[in-house]
Structure formats: structure tokens, C-alpha cells
């Protein structure tokens, strides 16, 4: 466990982070969590309680797809990958997130 105080990911942004992670390569659930933690310099921590339901949700939307494959250590794991719809959704979600952040930033700096 990292000693630094890690932040739980905001609910709405988790989907975006998962999609972004899977845009690089297919990954299993644990790997997704690790990547997000790593890439955020361990500032963000993904609770399993929100990760797997989110994956399920995204799969239901048809944005990601899953299948059982073998890992490097020859272990069976469920891999998730981005679908074409998911790729388009990632683009839209990213844009909307940027607009949101920009708007919040404007208020924080000017207000």
C-alpha cells in the first residue's frame, strides 16, 4: 500500500480513465487499476468496488468488450478491450471533460 494519501476517483471520471487506459492496449481489471495508479503517480487509487461495476457498465453500453486470455505468467484472466464505439465515446468524453475542467478552472481563477 502506498503511504501517500491517495484520492478515490470521482465516479463520472472513472469511465473516462478506463477508456483512456484501454485505448493503449487490452488489459485485465487488475492491470487497469495498476496503470491508472501508476500513470497518476499514485495520486489516484481505484477501489475494486467501483472498478468492476464500471467495467460491467461500459460493456453493457458496448464501449468495451471482454474475453478470457492468458497472461505473460500463463494465468487465465479476463481482458477488456476498447470497441469502435468505445473509441468514439472516448473522444467525445475527453472533449467534454476538457471543456468541464476549463470551465471550472475559469471560475476558480476569476471568481
Amino acid at each position: 500500500m502506498p503511504p501517500a494519501p491517495a484520492q478515490e476517483v470521482l465516479r463520472g471520471t472513472l469511465d473516462l480513465l478506463i477508456l483512456r487506459t484501454l485505448a493503449l492496449a487490452p488489459e485485465h481489471g487488475w492491470g487497469i487499476a495498476q496503470r491508472i495508479e501508476l500513470q497518476s503517480n499514485e495520486a489516484l487509487q481505484i477501489g475494486q468496488g467501483s472498478l468492476y461495476p464500471a467495467l460491467q457498465r461500459l460493456e453493457n453500453k458496448g464501449w468495451i468488450d471482454s474475453g478470457w486470455e492468458t497472461t505473460d505468467q500463463n494465468r487465465r484472466a479476463k481482458y477488456y478491450r476498447l470497441t469502435a464505439t468505445g473509441r468514439r465515446a472516448l473522444q467525445a468524453e475527453t472533449d467534454s471533460w476538457r471543456r468541464y475542467v476549463h470551465a471550472v478552472e475559469l471560475i476558480l481563477t476569476n471568481g
Binding site: W30, G49, Y52, E59, K61, G62, K78
Partner: protein, 872 residues
């Protein structure tokens, strides 16, 4: 595409919950394992690593639950939740629920029962391979009536046709043959068939084999095929019976096979070879013909092919001049037209009744939805979508319909058991059962019921909008639109009820007409005893046997008359032949002048059967075999042969015109001993003193009921021939009732539907008016406070009810007048627009409507103005 896949996975998850759960567990285990490995790499001991991983993971079950929730089986869960909600709601209103389930249950039960009967009797395919390639061939006489074929004609059709793969012939058994040697002697029905009949139908013996062509010739070996039923019942399913002889009518027949249980042609218990002969009389029409169409041949082609052969035959053989053929599907022959028509009628009636029940429950549900507006509004305010509300409403109807269907299926299964045992002469009635097809029908009916019952309330729920709903908060009033829907439903119910009542009324009138028809035969204290001699002895012995038995019976104290006839009345048996007046023999030629029914009767028959001799004399013992051949004609035959002239002393030819003509010694009253619903046929009587037959039916008449008469008659029979099977003794009344049982049962069922519909319509009307009174409590209270008289209040409510009922009656009568045209051929001596029926049905409905309107009206007058105004 991706979305579709997502949906598919979700569906799979719902259907295969097990797989999804296993995958989830495995995925979690993998996650934990990876976490432990990471911790170990970070320098923890394996045990600490595992503990840390578990801690990080959190509650396993809670986690699983969350994943399950997002697995997204929304619709399914919603359905389960809606069903639960509906069940809770229904449990809270037990009376309403019980009435609704019972009403729908009875409706669905009636519909399922009727469908089950129609399915078994009319719709089920014949138990032969490719039944649609099978045809039945009739000959048609010059007047166009259907006739059986004769042996020489059959052989010509068989050998000269180019359209049939094969043509087979069968012959009904008539009175049956006596089986002796196994237990008591018994009369069994024996039919005969050509060897080709079984291959044509595609039926093979269940055990042994069917006839060979070598056996199907005159003088061939005497062999017999047993029906599965006879083999099981009489021979106990003994397989060693094959190759052994049994005794029929005193002669040995070798058993060569047992037919399958599904084979029920002619309901024959045994089959012997027919052995058709070209030397047989071409004018003896007693063969039924069954053919299988050749490949690529149509029924129409077979028709013209065989008609060509018949025409060619007519040129060569004068007796068949003018005769033709009619080829019909075997299916049409097996399921008679009146049966099909009754089936359509009953299905239509029961569908109407079910629809009416649905309208009735829909009205109740609408009223309920109005009463529950507060509940709906609350849910709407809490964020439930209008679609959700509609769906929930529909779910409730579905639950009601489903419960009703279960009840209906149970009722139908019980009814099927009773129907199978009904003593009706309807083929395949004993195969009625709640089978897969019937269940599919019930499911379809349930879906229709759900929609019919729930669509209106669902649409109403969907239209509930929060804004206006909140504005009217608190008051349980309904929009006027909803009230109009309820009233429209009531009008529909009344209209449907009128249609059913009129339909049932017409059938009852028709059945009563049939019942009251004078058949020309006495029924009070008249008994019939069909007798068949076991072995056919010399003619004089046969004559002596029947005379002596008749004498013995006449000696029983209380018996007034006894006689014998060749045709057991109302048994369906009939005998017909050409009849030609002597003076017309030249012009009529071999084809004969007209077809008439004929009976051989004993001198005592006319008195015993109550048939009057209108002119001339009865047969007597003085009519001798070697004397003048005599004949008594029915009034219709006399009118047809010699209109306006005295027939006594004239002579006619019976059959061919080359023999001795027979002298008319009397004219008897008309009788209908075959079909009660048909006009009395022209008929002639011959005397047992001049023609002898081995099977006769004794007719016995007394003035009063005689205790133990049946036993005494049996004693009299056995005193002459102890080897005879136990004679069946039937009251003429019962035979006659059995002959009209079909129309009577149809009429009773329709009448029951009519009464049920009347009740339902009455309840529907009452419900709507009662509800309207509750809705208008404030208004009525106000009017009464302002001095309105109770009488005026009553009038206003009753007027509303009568207006609705009147509208429904108007629509119903109009619809009935249009629809009864379809019943035309099922009605006997009853007008399609029978004034009595068309007057009584509306009056009955009017009375019910008045009663249904009066009760709520009286309640309206009891409204206390003060409390009414103070409420809400």
C-alpha cells in the same frame, strides 16, 4: 453493432446466470492473486501480503452484489419488481382480485375447452402419412346426391384411372357379426376392405400383417385383422393369437394381424377382405372409395379423370347412365360439414365471451386506476417515468391474465376429462385433451387478454401528467375522458352479450324445433332390440326365429305390440334403392325412376312403431313368399310417384325393372327414422313374410312402464337362441334423444355462454354506474341540498344506465342480424332473424340493465348532503 453485442451479453448473463457468476469469482480470484504477488514483490511475507490484499479489496460479497447490479439485468429485475408490486397490490384488494381472476379464469377456461374440442375433432390431422394427398370418392346419382360405389364401378375406377397412385375400397359392416368362442358371445362391428386400403392410407399392422392380394379374392382364405381395442379388450393383448382362428358368425377366420391403436376408420372392431367382384350388381352401391393422389396430380385432375370413366361407363351400362363422381379430400369426408360449422360457431361464441370478460375486467381496472390516482401521482412525483407507470399497469393485467390462465387450464383439463366421456356420436371426441397445441393456444389467449384488459388502463397511466395531477391533488376524481372510456366499454359489453344471447337463443329455438319434430314414430313406452343371428341359417329358420321371439315378447304381460324392422331407428343406418312405377319402366330404363328408402318390416311393425296405415291395409300372414309380391308406400313416395292419384293396386319395380313388379296394398304415414332434421324421405315397406334378413330390430310397445321388461325381453330372445349375445335394449326416447344430441349440446353451451355474458354485462353496467355515483357524490349532495327530489336523482342515474344499455342493445342487435347469416345452415325450421329471439334477448338485457342501474341510483339518494359537501 457494439451495442447489440452488449445487449447480447446481458441477455446471456440473465439466461446463464451460473456462467456469469463463475466468471466473476474467477476474475476476483485473479485480482487478489495479482495483488498478493505485488505485495510480496514489495517485500511482505506471503501471509501479510495476502491479508493486505484482502483488506484492500474490501467486502467480497458486497463487491459481488455491486457487479451483479451493474450487470444490467434491468428489464428482468424491473419485471420481477413489477410482478411483486402487482401481486402485493392485488393482495391488498382481495375481492377485486378474486373476481377478476375468476372471471378471466372462466373465460380462458371456456375458450381453452372449446379450442381443445375443435383441435381434437376438427383441426388434428388424420393419423395417416401425407393426409392431404388422400381423397374420398363418391359416386353421384343423376339427381346429384352422393352415393357409395358399386363393386364393378370400383374395379373400373381402379383399373382405368391415371391420376391416383392407388384406389382402395371398404364396406361398412352393417349390423356386425357375432364373435363366439371367447367368453360370452358378443356382437362386434366388422368392416371389409380391399388389400390396398392399408397401403393407400399408409397404415401397417401393429402386429402381424395386413391383407395380401391373394386373400382379397372370392373364395380366398378367411382371414381377419383385429382393431387394437378389440384385441386388448377381448383377447387381453395375446400375441400368440396370430395364425389362430376365431369364430365369426359361426365360421372360422384366421387372425393375421392387429391394427395400430390410432387406426379408427369406421370405428370397426375387425376387418375382413372385401374381395370385389366384377360379377357383382353394378347397381349395388355399398363401397366407400379412398385413394391417394399420384405424384404431381391434383384433386381437380382426379375429379375429371374419374368423371370421364363414369361417363364412359354410363354409355355402356344403362344402370349407371347419368351417374358421376365427386372427389373430396379425405379430411373433409372424415370431419363432416355440420361439425366444422358448429366448431366455428362455438369458437366465435367463446371468443366473444372472453372478449366480454376482458372488457368487464378492463372497466374494473380503469376504475381502480382512478381510485389509485394518488398513488400514481406520488410515484410520478418521485421520479417514475410515465412509461414505467404504463408498464406496471400492464404487468398487473398480465399477472391477472396469467393467474386466470392457470385457473382456465385447470378447468379445461377437468372439462376435457368429462367431454371424453360424453356419449356423442362425434368422431375423435374421445381424444380431447389439454395437449401442447392447446397450451400454446392458452398462452396466446393470455397475451390477448393481457392487452385487452390492460391496454386502456396502461394508456391512461401513461397519460397521467404530473402538472395537472398535482393541481387536482387530493380529489379522487377522474378525467371525463376516462369516464367515457368506461362507458364505451360497457356499451361494448352489452352489445357482445346481445350477440351471444341471440346466437344462443336461435340455437335453442332450432334445437326445440328439432326436438318437437314429429318423426312419425311413437316414442312413449317403445323399446328397440337389435338382433343379429350368429350364423346365417336357412331362410325359413331365420323367419321362424324372429316370429317366435316376437310372439314370446308379445306374451309378456303389459306389452301391447311387437314387430320387427330391418333398420334400427336413429342408428344412422339407411337402405335405398331405385323405385320405378310400372308404367314408367320404359322411359326410366335401368337407371330407375327415383331413389327411395326401403325397409323390410313384419306385420306387427306398424302398430308397434305407431306408424298409421292411411289407406289400404297392413301386411298380414296371408302375404306369402310364393304369392303376389306386396308393398306399402309412404305418403311422400305415393305423392312423388302418383301425384293426385290413388296408388292402391298400382305396381312398382324395386331395383331393376326386369323383375316382377310389386303391388301397392297400402299407404303409410311418413317416418324419419334416420335423420330427424331432414324432410321425410320417400320410403317403401316390404314384408318379412316375403323377404328374409338375418339382422332385424324388434320394436316393442306397451301402455305403461313395465318393471324388469328388459330382462324379460332377453329371456324371450334366449329362449329361442341361447347362443345370442346379450341384446341391447334401448328406449326409443333415448335413441331419438341421442340422434339430436349434437345440436342440443351446441345449443346448451351457447345458452350457457349467453347467460354468462348477460351476468357479466350486468355487473359491468352496475360497476360503471356505481362508480359514477361515487364520483358525483359532491354534485349529487349539492343538488339535494338545493332541494332536488330523490326521485329525480334516481331518474338521472337510471337514465344514464338505460342510455348505455340501449346503445349497446342497438349495436348488438344490428351485429347479430348480420352475423346470424353465418349460422343459416345450422338452424332447423328457425328464421335467421327469428322475431321471438330478437325480441326476448333485448328485453332480458333491459331488465338486467334496470336492476344494474337501480342499485347505484338508490345509493345516490342516500347521500347525506352535508357530509358529501364537507368531504375533501
Amino acid at each position: 453493432m457494439d451495442r447489440m453485442r452488449g445487449l447480447w451479453k446481458r441477455l446471456r448473463a440473465v439466461v446463464r446466470t451460473g456462467t456469469a457468476e463463475r466468471e466473476l469469482t474467477e476474475e476476483m480470484a485473479f485480482h487478489l492473486e495479482m495483488e498478493v504477488a505485488k505485495n510480496v514483490r514489495a517485500g511482505m511475507s506471503p501471509e501479510a501480503a495476502r491479508r493486505a490484499a484482502r483488506l484492500a479489496f474490501g467486502g467480497v460479497e458486497r463487491f459481488k452484489e455491486e457487479v451483479r447490479a451493474s450487470r444490467g439485468i434491468d428489464w428482468f429485475e424491473t419485471l420481477v419488481r413489477d410482478v411483486r408490486h402487482a401481486l402485493r397490490g392485488l393482495a391488498r384488494a382481495p375481492t377485486f382480485s378474486a373476481v377478476a381472476v375468476l372471471t378471466l379464469g372462466l373465460g380462458v377456461g371456456a375458450a381453452t375447452t372449446i379450442f381443445g374440442v375443435v383441435d381434437a375433432v376438427v383441426l388434428a390431422p388424420l393419423p395417416y402419412p401425407e393426409p392431404d394427398r388422400l381423397v374420398h370418392v363418391w359416386e353421384t346419382n343423376p339427381e346429384g346426391s352422393d352415393f357409395s360405389s358399386s363393386e364393378p364401378n370400383y374395379l373400373d375406377f381402379r383399373d382405368r384411372n391415371r391420376t391416383l397412385a392407388a384406389l382402395a375400397a371398404y364396406r361398412r359392416g352393417g349390423g356386425g357379426l357375432t364373435l363366439t368362442g371367447v367368453g360370452e358371445p358378443r356382437l362386434i362391428s366388422v368392416a371389409s376392405a380391399t388389400a390396398s386400403l392399408f397401403p393407400v392410407l399408409g397404415v401397417d399392422a401393429a402386429i402381424g400383417r395386413t391383407f395380401s392380394t391373394a386373400e382379397d379374392v372370392r373364395g380366398g382364405e378367411a382371414v381377419v385383422l383385429l382393431s387394437h381395442g378389440l384385441w386388448r379388450r377381448v383377447f387381453g393383448g395375446d400375441t400368440t393369437l396370430l395364425g389362430r382362428p376365431i369364430t365369426l358368425a359361426g365360421a372360422p377366420y384366421t387372425v393375421i394381424g392387429v391394427l395400430p391403436a390410432s387406426f379408427r376408420l369406421l370405428a370397426a372392431e375387425a376387418w375382413v377382405p372385401l374381395a370385389p367382384s366384377p360379377a357383382s350388381d353394378r347397381d349395388d352401391h355399398w363401397l366407400g372409395l379412398v385413394g391417394r393422389l399420384g405424384s404431381g396430380q391434383s384433386l381437380a385432375q382426379a375429379q375429371s379423370d374419374l368423371a370421364g370413366i363414369a361417363a364412359a361407363n354410363g354409355d355402356v351400362h344403362p344402370v349407371t347412365a347419368g351417374w358421376g363422381v365427386r372427389v373430396e379430400p379425405l379430411e373433409a369426408w372424415a370431419v363432416a360439414r355440420p361439425l366444422r360449422q358448429s366448431s366455428v360457431l362455438l369458437m366465435g361464441a367463446v371468443a366473444t365471451l372472453l372478449l366480454l370478460a376482458c372488457a368487464n375486467i378492463a372497466t374494473l381496472l380503469l376504475a381502480r386506476a382512478t381510485a389509485r390516482q394518488t398513488d400514481l401521482r406520488l410515484r410520478l412525483a418521485l421520479g417514475a417515468g410515465q412509461g414505467r407507470l404504463a408498464r406496471q399497469q400492464l404487468t398487473e393485467s398480465g399477472v391477472l391474465a396469467g393467474l386466470g390462465a392457470l385457473l382456465g387450464l385447470a378447468l379445461a383439463a377437468t372439462a376435457a376429462g368429462l367431454i371424453r366421456r360424453l356419449p356423442l356420436a362425434v368422431p375423435r371426441l374421445d381424444t380431447v385433451a389439454v395437449n401442447g397445441r392447446v397450451v400454446v393456444f392458452t398462452i396466446a389467449a393470455t397475451i390477448v387478454v393481457t392487452l385487452a384488459v390492460g391496454l386502456l388502463p396502461a394508456l391512461q397511466a401513461a397519460k397521467t401528467d404530473l402538472h395537472s395531477a398535482l393541481k387536482r391533488a387530493g380529489r379522487t376524481g377522474s378525467s371525463s375522458g376516462q369516464g367515457r372510456w368506461r362507458e364505451a366499454l360497457v356499451v361494448a359489453q352489452v352489445a357482445l352479450a346481445v350477440v351471444l344471447l341471440i346466437g344462443g337463443g336461435l340455437m335453442i329455438r332450432s334445437a326445440v324445433q328439432l326436438e318437437q319434430t314429429d318423426t312419425g314414430l311413437a316414442t312413449d313406452h317403445v323399446w328397440t332390440v337389435p338382433l343379429q343371428l350368429a350364423a346365417v341359417p336357412e331362410e325359413w329358420k331365420m323367419a321362424q326365429f324372429f316370429d317366435r321371439v316376437t310372439e314370446r315378447i308379445q306374451a309378456i304381460p303389459g306389452v301391447r305390440h311387437a314387430g320387427a324392422t330391418i333398420v334400427d331407428p336413429y342408428s344412422g343406418a339407411d337402405l335405398r334403392n331405385d323405385v320405378t312405377p310400372e308404367e314408367r319402366a320404359a322411359e326410366a330404363g335401368a337407371a330407375g325412376y327415383l331413389q327411395a328408402a326401403w325397409r323390410i318390416v313384419s306385420p306387427g311393425y306398424f302398430e308397434a312403431a305407431g306408424v298409421p296405415i292411411l289407406k289400404g291395409r297392413d301386411f298380414s300372414d296371408d302375404d306369402r313368399r310364393d304369392g303376389v309380391p306386396v308393398v306399402i308406400v309412404s305418403r311422400s313416395l305415393a305423392d312423388r310417384l302418383w301425384p293426385g292419384q290413388d296408388p292402391l293396386g298400382r305396381r312398382l319395380f324395386w331395383g331393376g325393372v326386369d323383375g316382377t313388379p310389386r303391388t301397392i296394398i297400402g299407404v303409410a304415414g311418413d317416418i324419419r327414422d334416420v335423420s330427424i332434421g331432414a324432410d321425410p324421405p320417400p320410403l317403401m315397406f316390404l314384408s318379412t313374410r316375403q323377404i328374409v334378413w338375418p339382422a332385424m330390430t324388434l320394436v316393442v310397445r306397451s301402455d305403461r312402464p313395465i318393471a324388469g321388461l328388459a330382462d324379460r325381453i332377453r329371456e324371450a330372445v334366449w329362449a329361442e337362441d341361447p347362443a345370442l349375445p346379450v341384446p341391447t335394449i334401448r328406449a326409443m326416447e333415448d335413441s331419438r334423444a341421442a340422434a339430436t344430441a349434437g345440436p342440443r349440446v351446441t345449443a346448451l353451451v351457447l345458452a350457457a355462454f349467453g347467460v354468462a355474458s348477460l351476468l357479466l354485462a350486468g355487473i359491468g353496467l352496475y360497476g360503471v354506474l356505481a362508480f359514477a355515483v361515487v364520483e358525483r357524490t359532491r354534485e349529487i349532495g349539492l343538488r339535494m341540498a338545493l332541494g332536488a327530489k330523490p326521485g329525480r336523482v334516481v331518474t338521472s342515474v337510471v337514465r344514464r344506465g338505460v342510455t348505455l344499455a340501449g346503445l349497446g342493445v342497438g349495436i348488438g342487435v344490428t351485429a347479430a342480424a348480420a352475423l346470424t347469416g353465418l349460422m343459416g345452415s345450422l338452424l332447423y325450421r328457425t328464421e335467421r332473424i327469428d322475431p321471438l329471439t330478437f325480441a326476448v334477448a333485448p328485453v332480458m338485457l333491459g331488465l338486467v340493465a334496470l336492476a344494474a342501474a337501480y342499485l347505484p341510483a338508490r345509493r345516490a339518494t342516500r347521500i347525506d348532503p352535508m357530509s358529501a359537501l364537507r368531504s375533501d
